[in-house]
Amino acid sequence: MDSLIDREKEMPAVEISELTLRFGEQVVFDRFSITLLKGQKVLIAGRSGSGKSSLLRSLLGFIVPQQGDVKIEGVLLDGKTIWHLRKRMGYIAQEPQLGEGIVRELLQRPFSWKANHSLRYDAEQTAQLCRQFYLPESLLNKKIHELSGGEKQRVALIAAILLQRPIYLLDEATSALDADSKKAVLDYFAGRTDLTILMVSHDISLSSIAERVVQLPDILAGGRL
């Protein structure tokens, strides 16, 4: 209880207020609000096509909502702050598209970017994460297009984890994983009490690591929340 009170006192990590997302005539979210405190893990569950992915993409500035505000660690997201705020979030997209090249290069590439100059690629941590997520280390030398869907998903997770972000946005991040790999990923995030995690999924079993579950009604194929 005390720890909960302590957490309440902390600055919210993610605040979505009165968010409206509309694609043409279709209202995907109508004045949707949610707050995640630092270290909190929340699952937003709903059917496929309910707009869950769009919600996460709006937190990264990939979709600009028609109405409402998003704050990350108290900073209002806009066209100027987004470049700083993206450095605070790790994102795993549904069916990640990782581009071309070798897996190891893909994992190293973000460390050459200006925003990540204070970070260093950690080969030992990479190897350890591979083992933890049941990936052979030899996979690091494979070409990206040779990976299976499940391998891609785990490589995307490792890429995000290596960047040491305090907030993670997971979009159906375990959808292509077998039971063992999925458990390994969930165990990893469950053990990271320092991270704020917003998951969206149709898979309600992810609620095992969530402190809060928000079930989206079926509306969302075109109605209102």
């Binding site: 500035g61 100027k80 993206r86 450095k87 598209q97 990540n116 960047l163």
Partner: protein, 262 residues
């Protein structure tokens, strides 16, 4: 050697008579391009007559300002062709593409005429117009391929592009793989042309110099210089066209504006 043999207009009629062969083939096999072919032949004839008459005046006057004006007209037409050819709504950056074409044409043209040919009269009509035209024509083709490849590549690889942004990349950093692909696609034809020049066919400039009454070794010098100029010009114009157009093609959030696609 003698100067180029003149072609009498009536003798040229033999060329039009020869046209009956391809037209006959098109007609016999019912290829749906008879009207289009006739229209193209007509357009070619009228355009070249007009250009020939105009260039005669330009060459006779050989006035600095008129030569520059002719080059500006050629670049403007190329600019409009690029905007139409790359099937994007980039109208508001027409001025930037004009500058990219100008740089891609002017830099190798100045080196070709001023340094390689060592002509002090750099803007002389007989250098600026044919050499500038050859470089510009290739810049036009490269820009169309380059601009289209760049934006389509980001659109088809949208998730990979967004992944880079989400990992902290700036737009400049996130577009690097797309820029590499763009340069590869737009420069490959010139690289391949350089590798095969003289073997598959005698290239245009070399043919022109030989027909103009010069020996083949002189013609080779011109051909090498023009190939190097074209390659330099295309690489300059493509990279500038992309960098300039990107200024208005991405939102403040670094996302490619969907409205640029037709």
């Amino acid at each position: 050697m003698n100067a180029a043999v003149d072609i009498h207009p009536l003798a040229l009629l033999a060329g039009y008579v020869m046209l009956l062969i391809p037209l006959g083939i098109i007609y016999w096999y019912r290829v749906p391009m008879l009207g289009q072919t006739l229209m193209s032949v007509l357009r070619m004839t009228l355009q070249l007559i007009f250009v020939g008459l105009y260039l005669q005046v330009v060459f006779r006057l050989n006035h600095f300002g008129l030569n520059i004006l002719w080059l500006a007209v050629m670049i403007t037409v190329a600019d409009l062709s690029i905007l139409r050819g790359c099937q994007l709504r980039l109208g508001r950056i027409a001025g930037w593409i004009f500058l990219a074409l100008l740089a891609g044409t002017a830099v190798p043209l100045l080196v070709f005429v001023g340094v390689i040919l060592r002509r002090p009269e750099i803007l002389d009509a007989r250098f600026v117009i044919p050499i500038g035209g050859m470089i510009l024509g290739n810049c036009l083709r490269a820009d169309i391929v380059g601009i289209r490849t760049f934006y389509q590549s980001i659109r088809t690889g949208q998730k990979a592009y967004e992944l880079s942004l989400s990992q902290g990349a700036t737009v400049t950093e996130a577009v690097q793989p797309h820029l590499r692909e763009t340069l590869y696609q737009s420069l490959t034809p010139t690289v391949a042309m350089m590798a095969n020049v003289g073997i598959v066919a005698l290239p245009g400039m070399m043919t022109g110099v030989i027909l103009g009454g010069n020996d083949p070794l002189t013609a080779i010098g011109y051909q090498i210089a023009i190939m190097l100029s074209i390659f330099t010009g295309t690489s300059i114009t493509v990279i500038l066209a992309i960098l300039f157009s990107a200024r208005s093609a991405f939102s403040a959030y670094g996302i490619l504006r969907p409205e640029i696609f037709k």
